[in-house]
Amino acid sequence: MTDFSFLADDALVDALIMEIAGLLRRLIEHGEAGIIDVLGLPLPPSCVASLEQRLGHGEVTVRLDAAGASEIRETGIPGVWWTRHSNEQGRLVAMLIEVTFVPEILKANIADVVRGAERLPALTNVALRARGADVALRARGAGRPHDAS
Amino acid sequence: MTLLAFARGPALQAAVLIMIAGICWRLAGIFLLRRRKRFALPRASVTGRIGGAFTTILTRFVPRRTFWPRIAVSVMLSGVFHIGLLIILLGGAPHIQVIHQVTGLTWPNLPKGLIVIVSGLTLASMIGLLIRRVLNPVLRLLSTVDDYLSWLLVFLPVLSGVLLSGETIGGYGTLLALHILSVELLMIWLPFGKLMHMLLVFAGRGAMGIDFARKGAAT
């Protein structure tokens, strides 16, 4: 890829930082979340890199497996999250700067919770024995979290 | 048939044919007139006919020093215009591409940024020339519709060329079509109006060069 470093990055980076500051102020005063679609902006990669580096790393890094891998990371500024979504082929499909207390996607969705709740009873020893499954009895491998059936 | 396909296709062919026919017509109409034989013995110490013609063709590009003070504005404006146009035509990559398609010749092109700057200067000089033609009493007396029409038919291609290089209004396709159509208008009018001076300048200066060189007089 052509190196765009010759473009004046600092002006673009400063503009983005000002925008994040604005969104943070709104979050603090009104509790409203804000999102910047980084991929949607015509930014040279070097500028995105220097912004990310400048925002730094926070305490939380989440790896999400749903229709491809995603990484949601809190930056050095609490409430400012750097999110990368890739699809099943591993292609980056979205990159966001989310200004919120916790990104929406991390919260479990009520419909999933309801379905999960329906599956829970099937995991008790009684239900498993009733189904003659000897898996639990051997008590060797612990059930993997998303092993649905 | 999009506008661009029309501009690059039938319109281009029609314009080229009209131009060729018009140029041949006008040149034939001039050069086939009765030529009076000149019997006077040329001056002994004189350059030959070809030498005379070439001297005048070349020396008339730069007016004699003594005339400069009175025609400085005209020389400067028309100089910037003609040289600018030459740089655009011979330096611009797409133009070299067209020349290559017609003649097979090609050469390295100038960066687009430079061409845009030169086009800006050329446009400015053209506007200067127009203002001068309207304000200067001599030019106002001499000017005919042909002068202003020819000016416009050269101004439009340069203007549309600049807009095209900026790829601003209407996108590349439309601007390229308008640019080519404006050049085609120029080509159609060329043989019949003032733009014919592109060819007549060399023939005219050459003829004077030959006559005056024969007399050993100032060319």
């Binding site: - | 017509w25 006008r26 034939a28 109409g29 001039i30 050069f31 086939l32 007139l33 009765r34 030529r35 009076r36 034989k37 000149r38 019997f39 006077a40 013995l41 001056r43 004189v46 005048t56 063709i57 008339r60 590009f61 007016p63 004699r64 003594t66 005339f67 009175r70 025609i71 005209s74 028309s78 033609r133 200067n136 009493p137 001599v138 030019l139 106002r140 007396l141 001499l142 000017s143 005919t144 002068d147 019949f192 003032k194 014919m196 001076h197 007549l200 300048v201 023939a203 005219g204 200066r205 050459g206 003829a207 004077m208 060069g209 006559d211 005056f212 007399k215 050993g216 007089a217 100032a218």
Partner: protein, 438 residues
């Protein structure tokens, strides 16, 4: 045949009393387009209306009147060309683009084509398109003449007299014969007139006959000094050719061929043109065309002869201790290519030459050439042109200005008298003749 072409028969110009009517208008444009060859056509086709020729013409420069723009002076004739013999003539006529030339138009253009144009060719030198505007004006004058529109006072009158009698002042041959011998006696110079055989046949400008007889004597003295066999020919002496400047092609040819016949009949090897501009242009460059073949003799202007004589020793002069400046005659230097000869002469004379600004090829015209000196009403214009020359000579600080053309000499003297200018205008020929070393 184009429908309204009138079979042209050259005859004496009609009296212009009642002004041009339709027939004369037709004759006017017909005369103009009758000898337009490729060079003239190129000139008429390639003007880009850049207006630079005005900046080279003394009449625009001094008056600021845009009508004096050189190319504008031939506008009606250019339209006639476009309507009649241009490549797209049929279109111009069909679409009515170049309007028909009108009688009134021709009349108003008389002043532009005659009074305000010396045909000096300075405009032809600045034209970026290489248009020889001076020669176009000359062709335009053919049209004006055929339409009887030569300014009557007194260029037209003189041209008429020259056409009829062979000399602008109507001298008969015997009168002229006696006049030459009088000049010889008065200046103590052996005069050869009408001898059967001679190597050199000098010709005369009527201005010299009338105002500067000394220069005729100087010519004789010079030729005797050279020991050449020479003779004046009263059957072919008038170098002026006022008909040329009036536009009378028949008269011009008649006068020219008279000289050619006279020179041929006495087996001349050189025809010598006097101190005069247009006569040299006519004889050296046009006579052969009227003659229809290469002239059987060389044509030299007097300065060229002296320069050649000085270089090969046939003429020997004493040194002079004098500083002066020199005015180039347009037809000799810019149009004729004889700029170097006077310099050779002045160097041989040891004259301290202070060249004025724009000397040589780009010189400013004295304002008298091309018949303008013979138009009374052109006096104010001539004075304006003279002011340039006055400024240039004053700038050199010289007391004397030499020239090799009696026309210029007379114009500069008249201009000087009018502006009580304390400079002397002198002839280079006479200076040489008075310093011959026997």
């Amino acid at each position: 045949m184009s429908p309204d072409a009138v079979p042209p028969q050259p005859k004496a110009p009609p009296s212009p009393a009642n002004g041009p009517d339709a027939v004369q208008v037709t004759k006017a444009w017909h005369a103009f387009i009758s000898d337009i060859g490729p060079t003239a056509a190129l000139a008429l086709e390639s003007c880009v209306h850049c207006g630079r020729c005005a900046e080279a013409c003394q009449y625009y420069v001094q008056t600021g009147d845009p009508r004096y723009t050189p190319i504008h002076k031939i506008e009606p004739f250019k339209q006639a060309y476009e309507r009649r013999s241009g490549p797209f003539a049929f279109a111009y006529r069909l679409l009515g683009m170049a309007p028909k030339v009108t009688a009134e138009e021709l009349e108003t253009w008389q002043e532009l084509i005659y009074d305000s144009c010396n045909m000096c060719g300075r405009c032809s030198l600045i034209c970026p398109m290489g248009i020889d505007i001076a020669s176009l004006v000359e062709q335009a004058r053919h049209g004006m003449f055929d339409a009887g529109l030569v300014p009557p006072d007194y260029l037209g009158a003189i041209a008429e007299k020259e056409h009829a009698s062979g000399s602008p002042f109507g001298l008969t041959i015997p009168q002229f014969h006696d006049l030459l011998h009088d000049i010889g006696r008065k200046h103590g110079v052996v005069m050869h007139v009408d001898e059967a055989k001679a190597d050199i046949v000098p010709t005369l400008s009527s201005i010299d006959v009338k105002t500067y007889p000394a220069s005729i004597a100087a010519t004789a003295k010079l030729l005797n000094h050279m020991g050449a066999s020479w003779t004046f020919r009263t059957d072919g002496f008038d170098a002026d050719n006022v008909s040329l400047t009036a536009g009378d092609r028949a008269g011009q040819r008649k006068i020219t061929l008279a000289i050619v016949q006279a020179a041929i009949s006495c087996g001349a090897k050189i025809v010598l043109m006097p101190e005069c501009g247009h006569s040299f242009t006519e004889m050296r460059w046009e006579a052969a065309n009227s003659f229809g073949g290469e002239l059987p003799f060389r044509v030299l202007q007097i300065t060229e002869l002296i320069a050649e004589g000085l270089t090969d020793g046939r003429i020997r002069v004493n040194k002079v201790t004098e500083a002066a400046t020199y005015h180039d005659a347009c037809q000799l230097s810019r149009r004729g290519g004889a700029t170097a000869a006077p310099r050779v002469i002045m160097a041989a004379l040891g004259l301290d030459l202070h060249e004025m600004e724009d000397a040589g090829d780009t010189n400013w015209c004295c304002g008298g050439g091309g018949g303008v000196a013979l138009i009374n009403r052109a006096q104010p214009l001539r004075d304006k042109a003279f002011q340039i020359k006055q400024r240039q000579v004053d700038a050199t600080g010289m007391a004397t200005v030499y020239t090799s053309c009696s026309g210029c000499r007379q114009t500069l003297e008249h201009g000087g008298k009018a502006a009580n200018w304390n400079k002397t205008v002198a002839s280079l020929l006479e200076r040489v003749a008075n310093n011959l070393k026997d």
